[in-house]
Symmetry: C2
Amino acid sequence: MTMSLSAELWPDVQPDAARRLMLAGVESFAQRGYHATTTRDIATNAGMSPAALYVHFPSKAALLFAISRSGHEQALALVQNAAEQADTPMTALREIVERFVAWHARRHTVARVVQYELGALPEQEYRVVAELRRGIERIVHDIVVRGAEAGQFTVSDPMTAARAVLSLGVDVARWYTDRSRTSPAELGRQYGELALRMLGADPARAASPRN
Amino acid sequence: MTMSLSAELWPDVQPDAARRLMLAGVESFAQRGYHATTTRDIATNAGMSPAALYVHFPSKAALLFAISRSGHEQALALVQNAAEQADTPMTALREIVERFVAWHARRHTVARVVQYELGALPEQEYRVVAELRRGIERIVHDIVVRGAEAGQFTVSDPMTAARAVLSLGVDVARWYTDRSRTSPAELGRQYGELALRMLGADPARAASPRN
């Protein structure tokens, strides 16, 4: 169970022991916060010794960085793919929100660590992650600007609008649980409509390709 | 400086030592998380002895509860006042978002603890806070429903729409800093427009009374 979830979350990470440690880290950080978690807690949670943890990650900060970077890379990739596949700013924006929101709901425990433990990253590692975040914001900002130029969106401040669009998705990680009545995909669909409207677009004119 | 800020944040709390401890708690929890903070850290931060802390709060959890309950009561009161003072669902919704967003920006450190340390509250205390949260959600939900009935809003799922409106405000606490280029009031104004649009309303028809 744990092994297959960790493989699903981080297909690119090898060996399996490293993935198990990342999952144990996510669970511990989400439950008690980064600062209150020890490397011993994480190793125990993964069924390993503290020494075995250090074989894969030189420090607790290195483990947090691996989780945070991977989460941000996944979010950036899905935003990038959605932007590239769409043929208009409206469909691009809707696709991005649908996927970004669904990811934050489906991966809510990972996403919580990714979004709320940024302050615990060491300076250099923080800079790497901040650049990935700027990449996500830039794509959404540029789509908002292009949509406004094309007359599809009406916005007074593209930066504020782009951040509000992303906020809708990020905040899902805070409140979504496995007991939430709306599925990740359905929530994404609803938020896609809300986001388009927020930008002054008519959702009926940008039908979701998956519906 | 610290004394006047704590008095501004919690005008109803007496004596001043209790307010200073709440402010020290907010700062410590926001920086390192609830679980990694000791009562000794908080007392030291407030310039007091651990024994002096226990005079005012029987435990670290009691201090978190005081901060969380007070923050939720303030948020509920401002949402209630905005709802009561407005004469239409559109102006009510805009007023609520303007004040709720501005509060989360202006009080971002307090709001961060209030919004992100819910899981650390003991069960009984959590229930008290959860009831305050439901009160906020209920007011926004009812305004969305009344606005839809009055033909001012167009929404497919009022509960999802209400939560998305509140998400915009809550997430401000995550990213807003004292260095943010937009003032709390201006951010509130912009988000008020975005929220109205999200509900399918025309912001130009619900002019902000403060503009």
